[in-house]
């Protein structure tokens, strides 16, 4: 029942939201998202293998597809992240006035339903449906409420991801014809590779990988990302970067690596090399960015690259790191976006060169922001440290690649670079002399403190005591890897 509610509540609430008055839509969607959070936490408290965590009814009988959804380890962390993120997004942008607010909030809730569906689906065709269902509301949100160049930017985003998903569709249909009883179920997909030659797996890998690579994004499929993040309204950017990019990582973990293990081993080095190129390239560009949004966007490319690399290390430490880091990155980047949003709201600019000296006027904002920044560069005691440490160790001891030392060495440079550009940004925005714009800066309001404080709390708690989250992912990782130990 829990997975049904997780998808059903935001879906219904979203549809109802379209017919509400603009004034109440905001409170309505906050209420619905809190309800989802409650359900999600209930799901965590339920016993493993509880029948309430699974749901399956016939859907398209002749095609061999069932409407089956289930809450398990990999999905659970991301469902929790989604459930936490949406109330935070709604509260942090509470004062924002949207034209036709009911449509805005309706679409937001629909995208939450789509995201939940992606993380819950255990049927490939259903997964594909939700994959697109998450995309379409976000496309409309970004192109209707975004910045000046929104139409072109979000259209690029749409075409990229749509083309990626079509490739994945071909891959899914191809695997479907190789399953034993022509079924789309996850378990049937996990068996399908036994019927395929290694060469088939090798080329099929790319058909599915492209969809996920576009979403994450991995170099060279990343060019949509900075433009879209910049042009989308901040609430949507948070959904995009905090949650939707995780769809790519999640996709690889559940629908690619165990489905095509040979392909994954075979292309691991290539993908890791692409990740490294992307990480260094994005970090270097981030150094030169003057726009806060673009800076965060490029830093996100670098972080996602590391996660993708760690999956291809194919061992338990690395994959556990990815699991926890997906959660952490989601929380941290939403924190960053909130601060960017608050700065833009107050000073009407995102240009680093036009800001300065905010710290003296807004101490609370500064203190909270600096912790989030430190988490973003993975300092010990923050949540991201746990994730990145595990991922680096995973890559270092990986048996799946012969170049693990080189990979670790190159990837580690981006950690240094990230410290450089993040701290540089903090220094130029928050310290130094004030200027005309920032002279009369005021500190953030109570509810804004609350949201940022909540994020900082999560950062520190997970950073000091990550065991509950790690525990959540551990069984899923073992399960996943058991499908990948194959005879060479």
């Amino acid at each position: 029942m829990v997975p049904v509610l997780l998808i059903g509540i935001p879906l219904l609430a979203g549809l109802i939201g379209f017919s509400l008055k603009d004034v109440v839509a905001k409170s309505w969607s906050l209420f619905a998202s809190l309800l989802v959070l409650a359900v999600s936490v209930t799901g965590l408290c339920l016993a493993k293998n509880s029948t309430n965590l699974q749901f399956s009814i016939p859907w398209m009988g002749t095609l061999g597809s069932r409407f089956s959804i289930g809450l398990d380890g990999t999905g659970q962390i991301l469902c929790l992240l989604t459930a936490i993120a949406f109330p935070i997004i709604f509260i942090s942008t509470w004062k924002e006035d949207y034209k036709k607010a009911r449509n805005f909030f309706g679409l937001m809730l629909l995208s939450e339903a789509g995201l939940m569906g992606v993380f819950l689906a255990t049927d490939a065709l259903l997964f594909y449906f939700f994959w697109e269902l998450a995309l379409i509301p976000v496309y409309f949100l970004a192109s209707q409420w975004g910045g000046e160049k929104r139409i072109a930017a979000t259209f690029k985003f749409f075409i990229y991801t749509f083309l990626g998903s079509l490739m994945m569709l071909v891959g899914i249909i191809f695997i479907y014809w190789h399953t034993r009883n022509q079924s789309f179920s996850l378990n049937a997909f996990y068996q399908a590779h036994l019927q395929m030659t290694n060469d088939t797996q090798a080329w099929l890998f790319w058909f599915i990988f492209v969809a996920f690579a576009v979403k994450m994004p991995i170099f060279p499929f990343h060019t949509w990302q900075p433009d879209t993040y910049e042009q989308a309204p901040t609430a949507v950017t948070m959904v995009l970067s905090g949650l939707m990019v995780k769809m790519g990582v999640f996709g690889i973990l559940r629908w690619l690596a165990p489905v095509l293990p040979v392909g994954t081993y075979e292309w691991g080095d290539t993908v890791s090399a692409l990740c490294i190129i992307g990480m260094i390239y994005a970090s270097l560009i981030a150094l030169r960015q003057d726009d806060l949004k673009r800076l965060v966007a490029y830093s996100s490319i670098a972080h996602m690259g590391l996660m993708c690399m760690a999956i291809f290390a194919i061992n338990d430490i690395g994959t556990e790191g990815v699991m926890i880091q997906m959660f952490n990155h989601g929380i941290n980047i939403i924190g960053l976006w909130i601060v960017v949003y608050l700065i833009e709201k107050q000073f009407k600019t995102r240009k680093i060169s036009e800001l300065g000296g905010i710290a003296a006027k807004a101490p609370a904002l500064t203190a909270l922001f600096i912790i989030i920044v430190l988490a973003n560069i993975a300092l010990p005691l923050t949540n991201a440290f746990i994730g990145e440490f595990l991922m680096f160790s995973g890559i270092y001891i990986s048996k799946a690649t012969a170049y693990s030392t080189v990979f670790v060495a190159l990837a580690a440079t981006t950690i240094i670079l990230s410290a450089v550009y993040m701290l540089n940004m903090v220094q130029r925005v928050f310290y130094g002399p004030t200027n005309v714009r920032t002279e009369n800066a005021v500190d953030i309001a109570g509810y804004e403190k609350f949201v940022l404080g909540l994020i900082v709390l999560i950062i520190l708690v997970v950073g000091v005591y990550p065991e509950p989250l790690l525990h959540l992912g551990r069984e899923a990782v073992a399960n996943l890897l058991s499908k990948m130990y194959i005879k060479h």
Binding site: W59, M60, G61, T62, Y128, F129, W131, E132, L133, I136, F140, S143, Q144, R150, I151, F155, F158, I159, F162, L163, L166, M167, L169, V170, I173, F174, Y176, W177
Partner: protein, 462 residues
């Protein structure tokens, strides 16, 4: 037989309705009632009630596939009448005749969906082509309409000639001198040069009828020149009828020889997808864009002839249903607009939210976005070809083209939702809006539960 005879009789009735009914609205009402009757006859026929026991000497063969197609085509025509009946009557001075011609077209389509002999194929195709030449030119005072009609007639006559030549070759090549489908692909001449010549000539003429590239050159001009309501009918139901004849011919007559001719269909598909999609990108007028998009959609439909399996049969019916409904809905909105350019759609969502929302669903369906029927239709087409294990390159190419198609379909959506435009007066009555939204919901329903439609194909009536 029900559909063929009823549609012909109703055509005659409609032709004389102008004498007794003076008001346009009553003629439209009569046409809608007649259409309901025809649909009921088709459904009864499918359920096993045959009211006209005519001995056809096996020239016609009524199978579930053909009869079910008739039901879909008639239901789509009914939707077309309900949405655009008023606009059909407003083309010119003789509203009764336009409806009569449409019923004759439907009669031709019912023959083309049940032929078992090349002669009946020829007769069916001619019966639905000739009224169309007239309908294309029905806007008599408009030079463009006349030009389109003449162009269509000349090209149509040409393709008819080619078809006859092909039939003659096939007749000569058949072992026993027969026009029956089951006699064509067998015997010692199966696959001989003479037979293949006939087959390819038939393929060319059918490609012309469904406007597959490189035999599509008439399509944009004729679709653009014809009155918009007529274009709507031609691009959907008529095209679907021709397509059913196409797939029936190649499945029943030449199915066993498919390795000889599939490559030609693959080439046709390739060019149709390529030309349809790429040219549609550059159109300035939504009407012309839809003309090219209808070519592009044929490219996807051609996959069913490559697949030629159960899934292809199921898929083509679903494809025809959702494609027709979406296109009819779009054209119904377009007919009410004065200007067909993309700019005319600017800001439509603010003024007419219902029409804009429905149009968005139609466009998403044409683009093949999941949750709409268009996605499931494309899914069936692709999956049916992938089941055969051949032509994988064509599947990948088709998907690239589908991504291109997003560009021009979304241009309309962007105009409606994300751009500001001057306010304009459109005559969209509440009933019209309700119909549009129900069509849109139907398309979503078929996208989530396509088996509601497809399962009908497998029910066996006694």
């Amino acid at each position: 037989m029900n559909s063929i005879i009823t549609s012909a009789v109703l055509g005659v009735i409609m032709m004389f309705s102008g004498i007794f009914l003076k008001k346009n609205s009553s003629i439209v009402l009569l046409a809608i009632l007649a259409m309901v009757a025809l649909l009921a006859m088709a459904i009864l026929e499918m359920s096993g009630f045959h009211f006209f026991p005519v001995e056809t000497h096996d020239m016609l063969y009524f199978d579930v596939f053909g009869m079910f197609f008739n039901c879909i085509a008639f239901a789509a025509t009914l939707a077309f009448f309900l949405l655009s009946g008023r606009d059909i009557a407003a083309i010119g001075h003789n509203p009764g005749e336009y409806f009569a011609l449409i019923f004759f077209v439907l009669c031709g389509i019912s023959i083309a969906s049940s032929f078992n002999s090349l002669l009946m194929l020829f007769i069916g195709i001619e019966i639905f082509s000739i009224p169309l030449y007239i309908l294309t030119g029905s806007d008599k005072r408009n030079l463009k309409s006349n030009e389109a009609s003449l162009k269509y007639f000349l090209m149509g006559a040409f393709s008819t000639g080619i078809m006859l030549l092909g039939i003659a070759f096939l007749y000569g090549a058949s072992a026993t001198g027969s026009f029956f489908l089951e006699d064509l692909g067998i015997g010692k001449n199966a696959g001989s040069p003479m037979m293949m010549t006939g087959l390819i000539l038939l393929m060319v003429s059918m490609a012309f009828k469904v406007s597959a590239a490189p035999f599509h050159f008439w399509t944009p001009d004729v679709y653009d020149g014809a009155p918009t309501v007529v274009t709507s009918f031609m691009a959907t139901i008529v095209k679907a009828g021709a397509f059913i004849a196409f797939i029936r011919l190649f499945k029943d007559a030449f199915g066993d020889l498919k390795h000889n001719w599939q490559i030609f269909i693959a080439i046709l598909t390739f060019f149709t997808l390529f030309i349809g999609n790429i040219t549609a990108v550059f159109q300035q007028s939504v009407k012309r864009m839809l003309a090219y998009s209808s070519i592009a959609q044929v490219g996807f439909m051609l996959f069913s002839i490559l697949g030629l399996n159960v899934m292809a049969q199921e898929g083509i019916l679903l494809y025809i249903a959702v494609y027709s409904l979406a296109t009819i809905g779009l054209f119904a909105i377009l007919t009410r607009m004065k200007d067909f350019s993309f700019q005319a759609f600017n800001g439509l969502a603010r003024q007419y939210p219902v029409a804009a929302f429905s149009a968005t669903i139609f466009l998403l369906s044409l683009a093949g976005i999941p949750l709409t029927g268009g996605f499931m239709a494309k899914y069936y087409m692709i999956a049916s070809v992938m089941e055969t294990g051949n032509f994988f390159w064509l599947v990948v190419f088709a998907l690239l083209c589908a991504a291109v198609s997003v560009y021009y379909y979304f241009k309309v959506i962007q105009a409606m939702y994300f751009k500001e435009g001057p306010s304009q007066e459109l005559e969209l009555s509440p009933a019209f809006n309700v119909l549009l939204i129900s069509l849109a919901l139907l398309i979503i329903l078929l996208g989530v539960f396509p088996e509601l439609l497809i399962d009908r194909l497998h029910i066996i009536y006694i």
